[in-house]
Structures are given as C-alpha cells and as structure tokens.
Symmetry: C2
Subunit: 190 residues, 2 copies
C-alpha cells in the first residue's frame, strides 16, 4: 500500500488513532515524476506539500549572480515543501527537481487547511516536524560557519552515503556552498 511509508513517518512524530491516520492519508494524492522533471519552479506559487515515496529530489535556488544553491535533497520519506510560498501565496524562490524517476504524495492547500480544521492532531504533527526542522537548519548554519569545506564534505558523505551516491559532484558542491572545481580538488588530496 502506497500510504504505508507516509503513515509510518507520521507515527514517528505523534501518537494518533488509525482513523486519524486514514483521514490524513486520504488527502494525499500520488504523483509520478520523470527524471529531470520539476515539481516546482522558481517564480511560481507552491500549491502543495509533498512526501517522497521513492526517487530523489533536489531543492535549490538560483541567485541574481546565476549561482545554484542547493537547500536540501529529498529521498524516500523526506518532505518537500516551500512553506512561505504555500501558506502566503508568494512566488517561490525554490526549484524542486527530480534527480531520477520519482513518486510523491501531494496535498493541496484547501485540503491541508481542511485537515488542520477537521483533525487537530495535524497541527501538532506539523508543529513537531517544523520544530525538528528548525534544529536541523540551525545545525547546518553553524556547520557552514565553523567548518571548512572539506570537513563539511566528509560529514555529508559519511552521514548520507545513500543520497550522495545518487548525486553528481556538481550537485554536492552546490549543497556545500562551494564550486565544483574546488570540490574536485578536495577529493583529490583526501
């Protein structure tokens, strides 16, 4: 059943009844994306929140200078969202691109709002998920400010070897915040 991994993921964060779990899942619709397809492009409004069933996505921005900066990669069991764009109907700064053939579960805004109303545990779920995300973002910022590119590279490859194996060095470099040329040099004298 395609909803199994979503349900398991939700249960990691909050305790809830099967009925609640069914209600929540029922609002999520599957969508398939081919390699290189975009789920969201910079400038458009994000109309969904997503959960990755399989495959891999890269979430990135392109700044005025034309540099790509990767915010995160999302593989199986990761969430995909641009909260600011989704909640406030703002043009997104983010691109979400499938790095391989992928499948996601999506919920649209009307359904999400309905779910918050009908199933209060969903507020708690997303409150807890958001708080965990904050902790991760704070750690990432500190790591970026205190560690060298080589240290960050080693940490990333050691922590997420199964993600790294799906990525090109260019993509890894854009996540680490360095040029791919420099990453190549880091790898050389390892």
């Amino acid at each position: 059943m395609i909803y199994n991994s979503l349900k398991k993921n939700i249960q990691k964060h909050v305790q809830l009844s099967n009925t609640e779990l069914e209600t929540i899942s029922s609002y999520f619709k599957p969508q398939v994306l081919k390699k290189k397809e975009f789920l969201l492009t910079q400038g458009s409004i994000c109309k969904f929140e997503g959960f990755v069933l399989n495959g891999c996505f890269r979430v990135f921005t392109i700044d005025k200078k034309g540099n790509e900066n990767t915010l995160y990669f999302a593989t199986k069991d990761w969430w995909l969202m641009d909260i600011d764009s989704f909640m406030n109907r703002k043009p997104s700064n983010l691109n979400m691109q499938a790095l391989e053939d992928s499948k996601v579960l999506l919920i649209n805004k009307a359904d999400k709002l309905a779910l918050y109303e009908s199933t209060p545990i969903v507020e708690k779920l997303f409150r807890i998920m958001s708080q965990k995300a904050i902790v991760a973002w704070q750690r990432r910022l500190i790591s970026n400010q205190c560690q060298t590119a080589k240290e960050r590279y080693l940490y990333f490859t050691n922590t997420y070897p199964n993600i790294v194996s799906k990525l090109t060095d260019k993509q890894v470099a854009s996540y680490l915040g360095i040029t791919h040329e420099f990453l190549s040099k880091i790898k050389k004298n390892n």
Copy 2:
C-alpha cells in the same frame, strides 16, 4: 501591563479569544536579568521558552576549536528557545546571555505541555511561528552561502540598525561568521 507585548505578538500569528490569550499569558512568569547574566549555558538543559520584554540577548555556541558563533540576537518581542534541549531534555549547545539589563517572560515545560493540552490554539500558534522560523533560517543559510561577508554585513546593519547599535563589532562578526579583524577591514573601505 507586562503581558501586553506578548499578547500582541501572539495575535500577529493566530486569531484567538481574549480568554485564550489570558490563559496563555498566565503561564508566563517574568524574570529580570542583569547585563552579562546567562539565561542558559551550554551543557545544561533548557527548562523554559522565553519572550523578551526589553533588553537584548545573544544566543551563541562555542565549538571545539573555541570559536564563538552567534545564532541570533533577541531584542524586545523576540522569542528565546532551544527547542531540542527543551523538548528532548538534551544538554543544550547554546548560550543565551543578556547584553544589557533585560526582562523576559518564561514558561516551563510542564506548563507548556499543559497549555498544548488545554488550549489547542497554542499548537497552531507554535506551528505557525516555527514555520516562519524555518523560512528565516533557510534564507540565512542561502545568504551565508551566496553573499560575501561585506554584503551580509551591509544587509544586517541596514535591516536591524537598532539591534546593531547595541552590539560590539566582535558580536556582529560572530553573527556574520567572520573574524572581528576582518570585519574591521570591511568597515574601513566601505
């Protein structure tokens, strides 16, 4: 009334009744800190979530190499918390130090949990606050990866002139992720 600014802040995020507002506020207790006093020190467990009534705090970590890295500054109407430590009873990685005589409102964990139970809108409140925080942390990360130290310095001083005026250059540098010597050089050829 000391609770006014807390109430106004809450109302910015969610719509709620006066009763709810009173209930929430009633759990928060005022505490006064003198300049240089710590509200939280690295290694101890964070027993509160706080809201700044006046004064200014610096939230920072000291890494293994001994470098101070400032996560954020909190002046009037900002929240102070270490979610990971508070929720999971983990030793905190953060220090929260008053940069001047300050006053905060604090809520402890038992009361916070009681509040989530008794007053469901609090889940929504913190869900929304957390989501806004994620957006801010993502922006900060991108800014750190894509902008030069000078660009970040100019953005910070232009965006938060009233905070910057309370800070030493050393503190600003530790927020920007550069040495204070280099900040001095940036300021010179401006």
